[in-house]
Amino acid sequence: MVQDFPSSNGSSEDAPAPDGLDFNNFILEIEPEPASAEAEPVKTKPESNPNLQVQFKSEGGRLLLILPPAPEKSRNPVYWDELRRQLKERISGGERFLQPHTPVHLIARDRLLDSQQVQQIDALLSDAQLPLKRIYASRRQTAVAAATAGYSVEQQTTLSHLGQGQEASRQAMDEPLYLQTTLRSGVEVRHRGTVIVLGDVNPGSSIVAEGDIFIWGHLRGVVHAGAGGNAQCRIMALHMQPTQLRIADKVARSPDDPPMQYQPEVAYIGPDGIRIALAAEFALADLTTQESP
């Protein structure tokens, strides 16, 4: 049995749909940014993926800590405070998977880090018993700062194999991101893969994942699965009470009258938009018949 997730008209809306009224049917665009917008398309292009946040990645027995690109070049800029928060979150969420004493290679990319910031990163890693082995930076200032602070540094002019490999292979998703935390208002998690949260997702927070989203807790915020356009992705939560659900390009909002009690549920794209099913009754067979194109 599949229960309908009541968005407006029981289906989804792509955007706040214009009503029949005359003045509601308009197209409004802002003027393009004067100058400089077109000036450096080459620079912005490699970082066009907005879903880049701090991530750990294991590669050939090494643990890579990959920082998001420099904020000034990104559409979703990650500034230092936010970077620190994300790093903390990643470490706390994955500490059971991060083997102590695994050497960490910090891929700073084109980010500007001062020696104090490098030391702070090192301190956070040390808390999880992860030694900072080496720093790769493409910015000279960062390399110098890290070297001054006494770290082993490698300055790279190109980050082909480490930092930017993921942009090149756009189709391959990253390994799942495992978070053990409560996501509070204002926090946005973006990941090029599946996101698993052991904790609550509070109103005002959001998750944008290119894969599935699993919430082992209350889901009250905004979650977007299959953000890269994959309509096969699902959202599961123990307590599904989201502000809004999005899968691929579909949007559904929570019902106006919430159910009396909650059970684990699954959201997926059905023939007429986003639907929700009880997890217990969500048979795989159902999925295949409804979803396979």
Binding site: D14, L21, E33, V187
Partner: protein, 265 residues
């Protein structure tokens, strides 16, 4: 010519956002085409007061990033189609938007809407500067409290320095009984100190909390509460009508009522 009005106060928690929601809704009810703009990036709340939080798909930041058109980001109100909300981003810092970008957003909105209310964040930092960048008029929201009036005064000075000449005052959360007991500044006191034209006085009203809980501005109620009437009056004055100030005086204690109180009746 569209009217671009920033709602600001300096101090937080005086009811800026409540005023914006109610004023926007009241103007829309009166047939004006109204866009309310949440300029509080990082700590948005206007969507909650309007009950539109679950309809937000894109935010102003997405528009600026070129990820959607402006009309796609506007959340139209089902109850009142004349009203649209331009939501702020919840997740990014206030520094992520510049005054120049705000101007571009507002300028585009003027093509469709004749009232644009900008809900400014508290404080006088970047968020405030963004919200006043495009404004031509300002409504100062204050309460009859020393800290709120002081901050309002500071903000009035900043607005004048930024060439926003039409600055008007809304006094929120007035408690007539306390004024009568000489335990609260009166409307006259506050206006005398700030010396800007008075647009209206909103009495303290528990219904405000109820309406916030429901996400339904007071002015939508069928039977308007005192605060609801006051907000409607403010909107009418804003449209140039002459509406006398509401009578907020409380009936004098008669001997009989005192007697009743004496015996705990």
């Amino acid at each position: 010519m569209s009217r671009i009005i920033v709602m600001t106060s300096g101090k937080g928690g005086v009811g800026k956002t409540t005023c914006t929601a109610n004023l926007g809704m009241a103007l829309a009810k009166a047939g004006q085409r109204v866009a309310v703009v949440d300029a509080d990036f990082g700590l948005r709340n206007l969507d909650l007061l309007l009950g539109l939080e679950n309809r937000i798909v894109y935010t102003a930041l997405d528009v600026l990033a070129g990820e959607c058109r402006l009309d796609q980001a506007l959340v139209k109100d089902k109850r009142q189609p004349n009203l649209a909300l331009l939501p702020a981003a919840q997740n990014r810092s206030k520094e992520s938007i510049k005054p120049e970008q705000m101007k571009r957003l507002i300028k585009a909105l003027t093509k469709v809407y004749n009232f644009i209310l900008i809900d400014s964040p508290a404080g006088i930092e970047m968020g405030f500067r963004n919200s006043i960048a495009a404004a031509r008029e300002a409504i100062i929201v204050t309460t009859p409290e020393i800290s709120a009036v002081r901050d309002a005064d500071r903000v009035i000075g900043l607005l004048e320095a930024n060439d926003i000449k039409a600055v008007r005052l809304v006094i929120n959360r007035l408690r007539p009984a306390m004024v009568a007991a000489e335990q609260m500044m009166s409307v006259k006191d506050v206006q005398g100190i700030l010396s800007i034209p008075l647009l209206g006085v909103i009495p303290d009203d528990e219904q405000v909390i109820v309406s916030t809980n429901k996400g339904e501005p007071l002015v939508l109620e069928e039977k308007l509460s005192k605060a609801g009437i006051a907000f409607t009056n403010v909107s009418q004055r804003l449209q140039g009508e002459k509406v006398p100030l509401m009578d907020l005086s409380i009936p004098q204690d008669s001997f009989f009522t005192r007697l009743k109180r004496l015996f705990g009746m």
